[in-house]
């Protein structure tokens, strides 16, 4: 008994301490503050998600009452080789965009924090401009650049006696051709977030390292990168989710072609939603994509464990 009481008492103390921690917090105000967001989330996220889950087991066409079909929509999706191909393509697109974007943004941010304030401002504004340009406009601009017979890119290549390339007409090039504007669009925000993270790193670390004779690579490897771990984790997750869900670029630039080479998962689902009489298949595919995204995000979190920085 004694021993068990002794064992229990620290946990009781801990519990009391936790209780004390929350004693002076105003829970009611907190709930009131998050209420509007919860209501909006409930209406626009939670309820549609629950309803989508319900509809994914139905055959539904907007005109007839839903008819229960069990797991058929899910098995149809899972038996469809085009669905797997589109998920694979989504991962390929992530690999083509996210690492390149992170590296470029890191180099750019390093430049920004190392130059004078005024020039840094010019750099930050320049890199952010693509972010405020609509994806559709970007798509059109890049289509003009890529145009086979009158495009800027082939015109430049012609000076080097290189034959015109069907950038968005050749399955070998098309995915890369839409990855470039995706990187261009995503660079701005990624860079600014990295700049903010770099500015936040205490200058003393670098001063101490400089006194020890560390060079740029060593400072980057042992100070900058470890200090930016959480930011990189955040950018990795959001970059991954944004890239695999990209659909405006292929929709406008290639329509998913040639030969489905740019049909990313969301465009695949969108095309089914647009063309199918019943919406069950599209909803089931969307939910399965949700599972894929959730799983990958969880794995990334697991590998790059988020933790508080030790200042």
């Amino acid at each position: 008994m004694t021993s068990s009481t002794a064992e229990r008492s620290p946990s009781r103390r801990a519990g009391r301490q936790r209780h004390d921690t929350f004693r002076y917090r105003d829970g009611k105000v907190a709930y009131l503050l998050i209420l509007p967001v919860m209501i909006l989330l409930g209406i626009f996220v939670l309820w549609p998600a629950v309803y989508a889950g319900y509809l994914s087991f139905q055959n539904w066409s907007f005109y007839k009452d839903p008819e229960f079909v069990g797991w058929k929509n899910f098995t149809d999706v899972l038996k469809d080789p085009l669905f797997y191909a589109t998920i694979r393509r989504g991962f390929m697109f992530v690999l083509m965009t996210v690492p390149v974007m992170l590296v470029l943004a890191f180099l750019f941010s390093s430049l920004v924090v190392s130059v004078s304030g005024r020039f840094a401002g010019v750099l930050k504004v320049s890199i952010y401009i693509p972010t405020i340009i609509s994806t559709v406009i970007t798509s059109i601009v890049f289509v003009l650049i890529y145009d086979y017979s009158g495009g800027l890119l082939n015109w430049v290549l012609a000076y080097f006696s290189i034959d015109p390339v069907a950038w968005i007409g050749d399955p070998a090039w098309a995915l890369l051709a839409i990855a470039v504007p995706a990187i261009w669009l995503g660079m701005g925000l990624t860079s600014l977030i990295m700049v903010a993270a770099m500015v936040d790193i205490p200058q003393e670390f670098y001063e101490a390292a400089a006194m020890e004779g560390a060079n740029w690579w060593q400072k980057t490897l042992y100070i900058t990168l470890p200090q930016m771990k959480n930011i990189i984790l955040y950018l990795l997750i959001t970059g991954f989710v944004a890239a695999i869900q990209q659909y405006e670029l292929p929709l406008v630039m290639t329509g998913g072609g040639p030969l489905d080479s740019t049909t990313l998962p969301n465009l695949f689902i969108f095309n089914h939603f647009r063309n199918d009489v019943n919406v069950g298949y599209s909803i089931a595919a969307a939910l399965l994509l949700f599972v894929v995204l959730g799983t990958v995000s969880a794995v990334v979190f697991r590998i790059l464990n988020s933790e508080k920085l030790v200042d």
Binding site: K64, W167, P171, M253, G255, G257, N275, V277
Partner: protein, 484 residues
């Protein structure tokens, strides 16, 4: 592939929605084809039997009576959506709505012109919100829409005599299980060969004589190629999977004697020498640089042909109306003929016959008012429809005898030499779009694109198509849906 891009980039250009002619329609019997043939022949021969006065509002007929009570009660409002087409077609749609609204006061029609490339998503969003338009235009087959309960039947809201006027060739796209669900406006060949007579002449070829076979076409391209400047090509055919999916069905029939599914719809019928030969001709166009490696304009558009970037263009018969509208100087220099044939095609056609219909939504608030508008506009006075067919350069075929006669009697018909080619040579033998699901056609389109571009060997591309089609057959339970 290029359609979205081109559509987006060239907003001022007339557009024909690719999807408008992608959805499939049911099988037509020989009787139907004979009916079309006779109807078309009648249209081109009987030139003295015109009726009505073009442009003049017809008596309201089946339209609601206009009296003081209804005026005071304010009109029932009908929402009508139609797609963006060529300027002359858009004008006709605007005009017919205006005329209807002026002719009576009981029903007020609010027309909305929807950009063709935005149609599908806008309609889906409206349907999801329960706000689909009361009346709208509809291409292709009605089978899926009827099965889904999307369309209101017309027998109760359109006069029986108006429904009886629909020619046999158009019945499969408007009728299902003895009930009418759509009123057709037109039929049009989806695959026609156009050529620039000046460019033919410059290459020492007879400008009046198009190629009858693919070998003849290759020979002509070989002669034309040296005369071309940078950025010009011999031919602009379809070149992406989605466009091939719908535009090549007639050519599949021409080369193989059948389309993509077995007769009992239990599986694919594409691993066949005919399909291999079809892909091979496109591969030859691609490999020899007779065609551009990226579309210069969408299949449905005539921009590349109008700008003289190509000597030949494969498109639907509607392209001529775009040439007449946007490149009038080129109109009389444009040759038109049937698509080249496979060596052993015999008398098999190489094109499908597309269609366009008006339908009433199953959730229309006042189906009778919607039916009154539809009946008045396209099932009533033929004179109201004549401007549509005249301004589109006689490239479309009316689906009512009375309209065919009225159109044929227009004086401009005699001055359009291509009328005879379209109505007498191409349309009568054209086959209907298939009624099997769109995904089947996409699988074939993908195989043609893959084989043409060398992304995979032709037999492998067809083997992949077979697998994809089998997935659709199993998923949709097609064996039970095969036409009897």
């Amino acid at each position: 592939m290029g359609t979205w891009v081109r559509d987006t980039l060239t907003p001022a250009q007339p557009r024909v929605d690719l999807r408008e002619i992608t959805i499939m329609q049911p099988t037509i019997t020989r009787r139907h084809l004979l009916g079309t043939s006779l109807g078309l022949a009648a249209a081109s021969v009987l030139t003295a039997c015109g009726s009505g006065t073009p442009g003049e509002p017809a008596p309201t007929g089946s339209a609601p009576a206009s009296d003081g009570a209804t005026e005071a009660a304010a009109a029932v409002t009908i929402q009508f959506w139609h797609r963006t087409f060529t300027p002359v077609e858009n004008d006709w749609y605007t005009g017919i709505i205006k005329q209807f609204n002026e002719a009576q006061t009981a029903v007020k029609v609010v027309g909305t012109e929807v950009p063709a490339d935005a149609w599908d998503q806008k309609m889906k969003a409206a349907q999801a919100a329960g706000k689909a338009p009361d009346v709208y235009t509809h291409p292709g087959s009605i089978q899926d829409a009827v099965t889904a309960g999307q369309l209101h039947e017309l027998d109760s809201v359109v006069p029986a005599e108006a429904l009886a006027e629909i020619i046999d060739a158009a019945k499969p796209v408007s009728e299902k299980d003895g009930k009418y669900y759509a009123y057709p406006l037109l039929l049009e060949p989806q695959g026609v060969l156009f050529w620039n007579k000046d460019m033919m002449e410059a290459a020492g070829l007879d400008p009046e004589k198009g190629p009858k076979t693919w070998d003849e076409l290759f020979g002509m391209c070989e002669k034309i190629k040296p005369t071309l400047q940078k950025g010009q090509y011999c031919i602009s055919p379809a070149q992406d999977a989605v466009t091939f999916a719908w535009s090549s069905v007639g050519q599949q029939y021409n080369f193989a004697g059948h389309t993509a599914l077995k007769d009992d719809w239990t599986g694919a019928a594409v691993e066949d020498p005919g399909y291999e030969a079809l892909i091979a001709v496109y591969k030859k166009l691609w490999d020899n640089d007779y065609m551009p490696k990226q579309p210069l304009a969408a299949y449905v558009e005539g921009k590349d042909f109008g700008e003289k970037k190509v000597a030949f263009k494969i498109s639907g018969s509607w392209m001529l109306s775009e040439i007449g509208s946007d490149y009038p100087d080129l109109l009389m220099k444009t040759g038109i003929g049937a698509l080249p044939n496979s060596p052993d095609a015999g008398d098999r056609t190489a094109t499908t016959l597309g269609n366009f219909k008006w339908v009433i939504d199953a959730k229309a608030k006042d189906p009778q008012a919607a039916g009154d508008f539809l009946s008045w506009a396209i099932a009533g006075d033929p004179a109201l429809l004549v401007p549509f067919f005249v301004t589109t350069q006689f490239t479309k075929v009316p689906v009512r005898d009375s309209v065919q006669k009225a159109v044929a009697s227009d004086e401009k018909a005699a001055k359009a030499p291509w009328v005879k080619v379209i109505t007498d040579e191409i349309a009568p033998t054209a086959i209907p779009e298939p009624s099997y699901p769109w995904d089947v056609s996409v699988a074939v389109g993908t195989a043609i694109e893959a084989g043409m571009k060398g992304a995979s060997p032709i037999p492998a591309a067809l083997a992949t198509a077979t697998k994809s089609i089998q997935t659709v057959v199993d998923r949709e339970g097609l064996a039970a849906k095969a036409p009897k």
